[in-house]
Symmetry: C2
């Protein structure tokens, strides 16, 4: 399949690499910034493009992986296209692509970093399309990548995206705060790494609500008091400690 | 080494199993509840004891793995003992054991569940002792288990324990809340599992502050607004969303 990749960020990069590995041909890479377009295009043996008017009109798949608020204008510039046009955003309804005859959403529910290789068998792909035909084609592509495939409409995709903020973005921030506490006392973040892994691995086989541990769930007010004392001079950490402890107690009351 | 295990909870169970596997002899298991003492004692081929006065006085190591507030009374009942007396608590100073001639702390920085086997190579052990001699012996034991060993005084151990609440207990609660959001919309928690693993694995090789993603760190106020709208009827989740987003912005300002 001939594919045009619109965007050069983390999602665009990993998805384009994955599609190429699965045997598809990336014919163009678009980015607003020439340098970004060129780096990714060169890697993929594609043409670098910075003007949306220069996009090849004969491709079978157009992957829009740009910032959410830029999707509508990209979609508009592809309005006469006969190929499939998909965006990759969790937070954006499929409807923004309605100018494109064959459109859908290809949302990879994963956190991508440029420096880390991605194993698509660990990237659930959430699909939506404006026709059964397009949905079937998108499913085939996701399966070629080796991804678990889910059909998810726009409303539920928003919820998934929100949940991902809790279990990924907020979790990573808690790792950051844990490290901050250690650094202040010259303790090594390495000490926490096995605990971080075990905590994540546990919920691969158990529901998190069933494996909650710590002072809040056992209503150990002495330890909570001592922890708040330790956080004394840091109102930001105290607020987070109190908010999350309150929520744990409420969940487990 | 002859070991007496005081306690029958998660830490006591895993530590006693580990010590036995490393070639030590567990001679007694104490628990307030006869049934608990008997189950663990039987598994370890040890004597079950429910009265602290019945503890064997000839062991070389007494491991106190009971609730924090019960440690002082156990320590008092061991005051004429010549063997090493250690507790396993992150939040309790070593000083509570000062009645015991040879004492220390053996704090495994990990989350234990009875149903999950523990690989001690992934359990950092934080040690403290009242003499170089005792510290050396405890180091040897921890290394026999295959654990990474750290010397950590009582003040810094409290900080580690507090950090563990952030990166383990609070993180698991965020997993719970993510699952709660999905359940309300009949979405499967399985969909989030690869994201949870990747988020934990990323910080094994990068500092979390350097891999923060999501709407808050990129000051994407539209998405934050939409997420708060979605959380509309849930003040508990809204408060957590706002508190953590504010903290992410502050960390990355």
């Amino acid at each position: 399949m001939k594919v045009v990749c619109i965007g050069s960020g983390n999602v665009a990069t990993h998805l384009a690499r994955g599609l190429k590995s699965a045997g598809h041909e990336i014919i163009q890479v678009w980015s607003r910034l020439p340098e970004h377009a060129e780096i990714l295009a060169e890697e993929l043996n594609a043409q670098a493009v910075t003007d949306l008017a220069e996009l090849d009109v004969t491709a079978e798949l157009y992957v829009i992986a740009v910032k959410d608020d830029a999707i509508p204008s990209v979609s508009a510039s592809l309005k006469d296209i006969q190929g499939m046009v998909v965006h990759t955003s969790g937070a954006t309804p499929m409807q923004v692509l309605e100018q494109n005859s064959h459109h859908g959403v290809f949302y990879p529910l994963q956190t991508f970093s440029k420096s880390r290789a991605i194993d698509f068998s660990r990237v659930p792909v959430c699909l939506e399309a404006n026709s059964v035909e397009t949905l079937t084609k998108l499913k085939k592509i996701a399966k070629e990548l080796g991804s678990p495939v889910y059909e998810v409409d726009s409303e539920r995709r928003k919820l998934l995206h929100l949940s991902a903020v809790f279990v990924c973005n907020f979790v990573n921030h808690l790792y950051t705060l844990g490290n901050e506490l250690l650094e202040q006392h010259e303790l090594d973040f390495d000490m926490l790494k096995p605990l971080i892994m075990e905590t994540a691995e546990k919920v691969q086989v158990a529901l998190p609500v069933n494996v909650q541990t710590g002072p809040a769930v056992r209503h150990d007010e002495t330890t909570i008091f001592n922890h708040l004392e330790l956080l004394g001079r840091n109102p930001q950490l105290r607020e987070i400690y109190q908010t999350l402890s309150k929520s744990i107690k409420k969940t487990h009351q």
